[in-house]
């Protein structure tokens, strides 16, 4: 499997602008999409800002830096999210140990109380710091949580429908993903609720090549029922920065690792 993975990765980095062969296995497409969206390089960093717009057009803003480290490609990962804006969440830190074979471990550090709060496993398809993004969207939904089938393959996209293995654990009955055939990045996702309506949409508006990795730089989540949305921008993106495992521990909650949070000069 590691060799196949290496080939997949090699194909991934070469595939930009080249039409690879047409894939027909939905599980393989989703595995490559998962790698493309969440496992670029062995680690990475990015600054992120979100504009949250509610149905009345009122806006809120969040800004944070994300550090990511892959324990294993398509396997366990670690995330550290350090907030800088707005002032009431400044220095709040979110740590995720993402596991493939069990529930993720998640901690939130609240600086006002000096409190390391742990978040229970069930609590993942709820708003991430007031955004239309969910906690689960930060670290990615496990491909094995859903079953996957082809809807169609167009010139540009693999279109897949995903059905949750455990329908009780989620608010949707299914979702459809438009996966770019070149980059394997999911460019659009639409979620259907039990009433049969598309109520949530994720769209990618900007993709840039960063260190050979096609990378999302602008995206939006829309709540189609209320009319609210969250826009997200990614900047100062770097891959393979050499993040050590020790960055992803309780130490970084109380004392965020400045060395690794510092903005790169580019």
């Amino acid at each position: 499997m590691p060799r196949n993975l290496m080939l997949a990765l090699a194909a991934l980095s070469l595939s930009t602008g080249i039409h690879a062969e047409v894939l027909t296995d939905a599980d393989e497409v989703i595995a490559r999409a998962d790698l493309a969206a969440y496992y670029g390089g062995t680690d990475g960093r990015s600054e992120v800002r979100m504009i949250i717009t509610d149905a009345q057009d009122r806006q809120q803003r969040r800004q944070f830096t994300v550090l990511r480290r892959d324990v294993e490609d398509a396997g366990d990962q670690q995330f550290l999210v350090v907030f800088s804006q707005p002032s009431d969440v400044r220095n709040t830190v979110f740590l995720v140990d993402k596991h493939i074979d069990r529930d993720d471990d998640r901690w939130l550090y609240l600086p006002g109380l000096d409190l390391v709060k742990r978040i229970s496993a069930g609590d993942k398809r709820t708003s991430f710091v007031g955004a239309h993004y969910f906690y689960e969207d930060v670290s990615g939904r496990r491909p094995s949580d859903d079953s996957h089938e082809f809807v169609e393959t167009t010139d540009a996209f693999y279109v897949l429908r995903h059905t949750p293995i455990d329908p009780q654990s989620v608010e949707f009955t299914s979702y459809i993903t438009w996966i770019d055939r070149n980059t394997f990045l999911p460019m659009k996702i639409e979620y259907t609720n039990p009433a049969g309506n598309v109520y949530r949409r994720v769209e990618v508006f900007g993709v840039e090549n960063v260190d050979g990795h096609p990378t999302v730089t602008t995206s939006r989540v829309s709540d189609l029922l209320t009319g609210g949305r969250t826009d997200m921008q990614f900047r100062y993106i770097q891959y393979d920065v050499g993040l050590p495992e020790s960055v992803f521990t309780e130490r970084s909650l109380r004392n965020p690792p400045r060395e690794w949070l510092q903005r790169p000069e580019n």
């Binding site: 509610d54 009431d88 529930d103 609590d123 398809r125 709820t126 708003s127 955004a131 609210g228 004392n255």
Partner: protein, 422 residues
């Protein structure tokens, strides 16, 4: 009179709003200090008056928070302070919550020096091994939860390693809890046999300021897979003035504590178990009625998301007083002494709606052994990144006048706070 006119200044800062998206401003990444904080007005009032106190309100303040951070060299200097006009104490009050220098030594040692808020342990609003100072006066008045933790002047050294992490906090001068003095709330006095509100307000005798009277707190901790394990030790004093001097003045008895905790996922939620043994150094055999006895404190809790956005947390807590029969035999007022076993159940219900815009919460303390309770309902509304509002209550009750929550019956209050973040 009262400084409400301060609030008129707010619209000036509001003019500084701009379109946050089109600009290419990602903020500075240099070491320049950014000032932030909030202005908050709070009002809390009793459901019924306390016959011992003239003041009907429990909260009546305008509070200004200012905070910043600098990074000179490899160190981080943090500053966070409040200035508040308190209508109940009829005066201005300034408090530094954070003034620290933090730096790393020899890669593995994180040092933090100065005035700081510190927290450890696994309980939710129940503290066993966390013997850092707490401010129950703020907590009962309806101030933000963060004020439950009081700041202390301390040196904190944390060493990180693969084997085990070691956390050491030295507080050179004992920092007691902010305790009930009779100024804002009356409290039960076993000597008087009823609630009192002394004038001048009660001041407890604090330990002499000498090195041996400092507080030493130690935590060894490690995470094994998803399981967090910690061992604790403390040498200092009981944080509440529960002892009496020879002159019958309230004071703080010497305390040594050791404990352990565990926190891990279980089923759909999180389990926490914690225990601590409180060794009362001046009353080893439990016969001195003016000094608290040894106690074993145990806690078990479970929290899970019962429905999307609806979280339930349950805790069972036990205080087992050692040598209890000796305490009763020697006490001048045995009817007011704690039960041998004090049981406490807590329940936290949290419901968040509209992407955390609205938070409804109810925290319940209920003691079947003391037959008393404390309810903390609250509603928070986050209107924008700048404006938020919290309304809630602190409701106390019980059947015996002397138990912890029951003595605060006349402090039961409803409050409202409006906050502007800048």
């Amino acid at each position: 009179m009262k400084p409400w006119p301060l609030l008129l200044l707010l619209p000036i800062t509001l003019l500084a709003q701009d379109d946050p998206w089109d600009d290419e401003d990602w903020g500075d990444d240099d070491e320049a200090a950014a000032w932030a904080g909030f202005i908050e007005a709070g009002l809390g009032t009793r459901l019924h008056s306390d016959p011992l106190l003239d003041e009907r309100n429990t909260l009546e303040e305008v509070r200004w928070r200012i905070e910043s951070e600098w990074q000179p060299g490899a160190a981080t200097v943090s500053f966070k302070a409040d200035a508040a006009y308190d209508g109940i104490e009829a005066g201005w009050d300034a408090e530094i919550r954070d003034l620290t220098a933090a730096f790393t030594l020899a890669e593995d040692y994180d040092i933090k020096l100065g005035r700081q808020v510190q927290t450890w342990g696994t309980g939710d609003l129940l503290f066993l091994n966390d013997l850092f100072p707490k401010d129950f006066v703020s907590f009962f008045a309806g101030r933000d939860d963060e004020y439950l933790k009081a700041a202390g002047n301390a040196i904190r050294v944390t060493r990180f390693s693969e084997m085990i992490n070691v956390d050491f906090a030295w507080t050179p001068v004992f920092e007691p809890d902010v305790y009930l003095t009779g100024e804002r709330y009356s409290f039960f006095s076993p000597l008087a046999g009823e609630n009192i509100a002394p004038r001048p307000p009660l001041t407890a005798v604090e330990p002499d300021e000498k090195p041996a009277n400092g507080e030493f707190a130690l935590r060894l901790f490690r995470t094994f897979e998803s399981r967090e394990i910690a061992l604790y030790a403390y040498r200092g004093f009981f944080k509440q003035p529960t002892a009496l001097t020879a002159n019958l003045e309230p004071t703080f008895a010497p305390l040594t504590a050791i404990g352990a905790s565990l926190r891990q996922p279980l089923g759909p939620g999180l389990l926490n178990v914690e225990g601590s043994y409180y060794r009362s150094r001046d009353d080893r055999d439990g016969s001195d009625p003016f000094v608290p006895n040894d106690q074993l404190r145990m806690l078990a809790g479970y929290e899970w998301e019962a429905r999307p956005n609806f979280t339930v947390g349950l805790q069972y807590y036990l205080e087992w007083t050692g040598d209890h029969s000796r305490l009763i035999d020697n006490s001048p007022s045995p009817e007011f002494e704690p039960d041998e076993f004090r049981h406490l159940l807590t329940n936290r219900l949290t419901y968040r709606a509209g992407r955390d815009k609205h938070t409804l919460s109810l925290f319940t303390f209920f003691s079947p052994s003391d037959s008393d309770f404390y309810l903390r309902p609250s509603y928070s509304y986050r209107h924008s990144d700048e404006w938020s509002l919290t309304a809630g209550g602190n409701l106390f009750g019980g059947s015996d006048a002397h138990t912890f929550f029951s003595q605060l019956q006349d402090a039961s209050n409803l409050y409202l706070r409006v906050r502007y973040h800048y």
